[in-house]
Assembly symmetry: C2
Homo-oligomer: 322 residues x 2
């Protein structure tokens, strides 16, 4: 693994792709190699700015990433784009599977676009993407964009592997405004109102004001400097506001680094994923036991229909495992 | 346990208090009896309206519960008040420990007030309170109010044992508004702006409008009829708006019952607590192993400082358990 790690750190694109394929592999015999690779890559000491980006279909996420990614490479930065696609757990399909979505960026030598891994479990997709982020970081990318659509738990997962979490929304008027998933304002560092151009400019201004107002209702978090989280307007098609959005991200990340929140956040995230991995490993033992699985199915029905209490049911499942 | 269950179902107040003490007991030999009691009480088939209520210190939570509880008993309803106090995990103290906080209600024969159980773990407090809710329900209370202060995960826990979750807030002006914990608007069914009286009336009207606007930005949930979740004004000291708040709660719960959301929510909550109990039981096995605990401490340090990957660390902890 040391050789592959060295090639990745040296900037070899084919080694990078092979490394990501390895951490994404579902074969049990690849897992040991993947963990060894990640430990070897850790020696690079490199850190990218990890930017999480969420938005529902139709907000112009691909167009924004294309424009923003190109803006960043124009500044001399190297940009990787990864994705977590919650729908891939069902369909096997993946967002970003079609690179023509971001034609310009995908041909850019300073950009690297990787489709979402497909997997049967969202938790598994998240682990693989988190490890792919670490591979890109060691490969010397300055910015890693992690994209997701706003479905289920995927935003929380992206936020828990990002330094900055950005929510992209579309302008809307009046009753159309019920578009933001509950819980998302909780984790957003930056809300970007896209399509602030042409006919939609006025609606975008109103929408931006509405979200700025809603953000002010929330209690301040320790990891936020004054005026953050904030709502801003951008136009991906006119490439307008991208510089201001990037300046806000840099300001936020530099403040967090200076105040110690950056490192603390990364350490907390790593411990969180570690604890999750322990829980998943314990649950896997339960899942490997036919007796426990039979008990769990029967007890779930009993609990759901109200014929037994959750704790009594859980005790019986645990007894079946022993 | 059958005799105690029969007395509780018959409305015996001392049996009720004994039943709750039993489910709250931390003694391992009481646990079997507690589970048997809960299964026996389940035969009553009674259902209360479980109302979760959260608010930061200073919003007038005690005054509201006193006024609202008295309003409900005046309608001929029997009301139980329980609490989850996240601070009791540290201090051993408890909110509602001092019944003089609600002097009038505590003397009311149709009301029952129980202080928050103290425990070393918030998860443990939540389980005990959830079971105390079931005991009160079997005892024939029409409404069970479950109170918490807005700290940590306690609101989510209260919401996951409530049919309706209510957030109580105080009026404020301009920059003072940063009072709502992130994530709470996600779970609120009703936001009540308290102290809508005297000098604060105008500020309450503005605050109520601000929250109504913020709620409109959120995507509609399947379990909400038109115009819900909503923000309303109340004055606990002037007993103003309590009837409208209660009418909204009744409207919401009847709609949810008619549409099947009520039963589905209760079944989902029971399954959630069951799955949590299984996880907690599995984690308890890890905690009972000295070798696994030693490994977990060492690996947490390594993960936190970035010298190993979360998954490699987790694999070593699980190996130590085996």
């Amino acid at each position: 693994m040391t050789e592959l790690a060295q090639k990745i750190i040296a900037g070899d694109r084919r080694a990078l792709a092979r490394g990501i394929t390895l951490v994404e592999s579902q074969r049990a015999d690849h897992r040991q190699d993947a963990l060894a690779l990640l430990d070897a890559l850790r020696t690079s000491g490199r850190e990218a700015l990890r930017i999480g980006l969420s938005g529902t279909p139709g907000v112009g996420k691909s167009t924004f990433i294309e424009a923003f990614g190109t803006f960043l490479t124009d500044q001399g930065l190297k940009v990787a784009v990864l994705a977590i696609d919650p729908s891939s757990t069902r369909s096997g399909g993946s967002i970003l599977g079609d690179k023509t979505r971001m034609e310009q960026l995908s041909r850019n030598p300073n950009a690297f676009i990787r489709p979402s891994p497909s997997n049967t479990q969202l938790g598994g997709v998240a682990r693989r993407t988190r490890e792919a982020v670490a591979v890109c970081e060691a490969a010397g990318f300055d910015v890693v964009l992690i994209e997701t659509v706003g479905v289920g738990q995927s935003e929380t997962m992206v936020a828990s592997m990002s330094d900055i979490f950005t929510l992209l929304i579309a302008p809307a008027g009046g009753d159309e405004l019920q578009g933001v998933k509950r819980g998302i304002m909780e984790i957003a560092d930056l809300i970007l109102v896209n399509k602030a151009d042409g006919e939609l400019k006025a609606a975008a201004t109103r929408t931006c004001g509405d979200y700025a107002g809603a953000l002010r209702l929330l209690r301040k978090r320790p990891q936020d400097p004054d005026l953050f989280p904030k709502a801003m307007m951008v136009s991906a098609t006119e490439q307008d506001g991208l510089d201001a959005a990037w300046a806000a991200m840099v300001e936020l990340s530099e403040w967090r680094k200076a105040e110690g929140h950056w490192q603390k956040n990364r350490a907390d995230q790593a411990v969180h994923w570690f604890e999750e991995a322990v829980k998943i490993g314990l649950m896997a033992r339960l899942e490997a036991s036919d007796a426990a699985q039979d008990a769990k199915r029967a007890e779930t029905d009993a609990v759901s229909s109200g014929t037994t209490s959750p704790d009594a049911a859980a005790a019986r499942v645990l007894d079946a495992l022993k």
